[in-house]
């Protein structure tokens, strides 16, 4: 059993990243709540990271390219910072509009 892979790992994960980006963008743009939008934003982000990381693994014999890995770690942290700010704004908005009609 075994044998050569039918399709290179990097291409599988690269394409998966592209699909995740599409799904996440759909989730971001469809009419929904802020919390769900923030969640979708994180899916778009991780899709981009996966795609980026996968393209760094095109020549498995040399190992994964460390530069995209480092950039992705930076990106993950930045995404968390943005998520935290969005959540805080969302909760603040809920607080100041408590008692008033929430429709947006």
């Amino acid at each position: 059993m075994g044998g050569d892979p039918i399709i290179a790992s990097w291409l599988v994960y690269g394409c998966c990243g592209a699909v995740l980006v599409g799904l996440g963008l759909f989730g971001f743009m469809r009419p929904t709540t802020t919390l769900r939008r923030v969640l979708a934003f994180n899916i778009v982000g991780s899709g981009i990271f996966l795609l980026f990381g996968a393209t760094g693994y095109r020549v498995p014999s040399t190992g994964a390219d460390p530069v995209p890995q480092a950039l992705i770690i930076t990106g993950i942290v930045v995404a968390l910072a943005a998520t935290a700010l969005a959540v805080a704004l969302m909760l603040a908005l809920a607080r100041v509009s408590a008692g008033r009609d929430e429709d947006a």
Partner: protein, 495 residues
């Protein structure tokens, strides 16, 4: 060869001051003013050096040249934008001492403002000096997060709502940009602008990458129809913050867009893309102007004017990059766009600061509130009028120089439609600025009283508006500076 400290100071000094302001809020004002002062001096020296030597300055951070490391580089464009950002930044911070200065007790707004404003300025400078597409991304995120927090600073429901909407646009804009940068790296194995330019070719992945970057950056620059976040965000923020948000923040994403198409991928913009960007810019000019005409509040007029004025920036793409033949007027169109970015920044900051001062004096910013304020605040009113001259593009202002260069290019290349848009934009600006001006200069109601405001809130916008005019008076100097360090391709337009 300039000392590396000159390139580092505009970024490091505000960052250091921001850290200080977080740890030791009592010293925030002093730290902020001295740091931005240092940044201003450094960028002034850079501009002079760049003009004198006719070459840019570069520094490989950590001694690692690209592609492994990141390089800072100041060409003419960087130097001009740095100088504009530091000038406006210093002016804004001087005024901000009033509402946000240390009052003996730490407050939510007084504590938060300084680190946010300083990081915003540092992020701008970092972007203007960078040559690396991922470093641009980190700079953009630093810029966006501090800008969003400044929008929300007021704490009212409208402000928080505007901040949230702004954040959503900014986040998706950054992600699309990052996706493009990732694809470029996957294609060329580098993120450095110069190295990408050296090996760039026209192929599918490159075009998708550039398209994604363009879409993301256009959303961050509030290009029509992706402008929906701007007016509410800029009016919801405190006036000093609005000055930076309207004058500077959209310029950073525009700056990156210019780097993408003119420096990294010269010759790759097809006529379709430049037509789309130019058309959206033209629509923005008309749409923003009409909405500015319909507003009753001073800050909203200024904010919609920003939507319109940002439209001009995108006319650079068809004017300086549409055709396949290199022509002398392309350089003129490109330079015109950049001069417009700088002079609009100065004038818009002046206007928002005036609006802030007038709001403080009149207790509101409806046109009826500020009616006849000239008697009480002649300097601020004059500053507003001077800034209006620049936005309308009247001689001898920087706005005139910008529009003159763009018009010349438009008519020389036979692209008279774009020329007509530039002309119409000037007329529309005159129209929508006429109403606030008429109101400010009207005779005041005899029993209307205004609160007194500190003199510096009038002097700073006056100084900024004067600089915007001077830019046009000394027209040769900015023109020459902007040519320094331009690649041949950029000299000849996008090809």
């Amino acid at each position: 060869m300039v000392h590396p400290a000159l390139l580092v100071a505009p970024i490091a000094a505000p960052l250091l001051a921001a850290l200080l302001a977080i740890a030791f809020p009592r010293g925030a004002v002093a730290a902020a003013l001295s740091a931005v002062g240092v940044a201003l001096v450094a960028s002034l020296v850079l501009v002079v050096e760049v003009a004198r030597t006719g070459t840019g300055a570069a520094l490989a951070i950590g001694g690692w040249p690209p592609p492994l490391g990141i390089a800072l580089e100041a060409d003419g464009l960087s130097a001009m934008f740095l100088l504009a950002a530091s000038t406006i930044g210093l002016g804004v911070l001087v005024v901000a001492q009033g509402p946000f200065g240390w009052t003996g007790r730490e407050t939510r707004k007084g504590y938060s403002f300084w680190p946010l404003a300083l990081c915003l300025l540092a992020a701008l400078n970092a972007i203007f000096l960078s040559r690396d597409f991922f470093n641009f991304y980190v700079g953009l995120e630093l810029l966006s997060l501090s800008a969003v927090a400044l929008v929300a600073l007021d704490g009212k429901r409208e402000a928080i709502e505007a901040a949230l909407r702004y954040l959503m646009f900014a986040l998706v804009g950054s992600l699309l940009y990052l996706l493009g940068a990732a694809l470029l790296y996957a294609q060329y194995g580098t993120l450095d602008i110069g190295l990408i330019a050296a090996s760039a070719e026209t192929n599918g992945p490159t075009l998708v990458a550039a398209g994604l970057m363009t879409a993301g950056l256009a959303a961050k620059t509030a290009l029509f129809p992706l402008h929906a976040w701007l007016p509410s965000a800029h009016t919801g923020a405190p006036a000093v913050a609005s000055a930076m948000l309207s004058a500077l923040v959209p310029k950073a994403s525009f700056f990156i867009l210019v780097r993408v198409w003119f420096d990294a991928l010269p010759g790759q913009a097809g006529p379709g893309l430049t037509l789309v960007l130019g058309t959206m810019g033209a629509v923005a000019i008309v749409y923003g102007s009409i909405l500015a005409l319909l507003q009753e509040r001073l800050k909203l007029i200024i904010a919609y004017s920003t939507v319109a004025q940002l439209g001009y920036l995108f006319l650079v793409f068809p004017l300086a990059g549409g055709d396949s033949t290199a022509q002398p007027w392309f350089a003129g169109a490109w330079t015109g766009g950049m001069v417009h970015a700088v002079s609009h920044g100065l004038a818009k900051a002046a206007m928002f600061l005036c609006a802030g001062a007038m709001m403080a004096a009149a207790g509101g910013d409806k046109l009826s509130d500020v009616r006849g304020i000239v008697a009480k605040m002649p300097l601020a009113t004059f500053a507003f009028a001077l800034a209006a001259v620049t936005l309308m593009g009247l001689p001898p202002s920087g706005g005139f120089l910008a529009k003159y260069l763009m018009l010349t290019a438009a008519f020389a290349s036979g692209a008279w439609v774009w020329g007509a848009v530039v002309l119409a934009g000037g007329l529309l600006a005159a129209l929508y600025l006429y109403r606030p001006l008429a109101s400010l200069f009207a005779p005041a109601d005899p029993d209307r009283t205004f609160t007194s405001v500190p003199l510096r809130t009038e002097l700073v916008p006056l100084a900024l508006a004067l600089v915007a005019v001077l830019l046009g008076v000394a027209s040769q100097f900015p023109y020459d500076i902007l040519q320094v360090g331009r690649s041949v391709a950029a000299e000849a337009g996008l090809e």
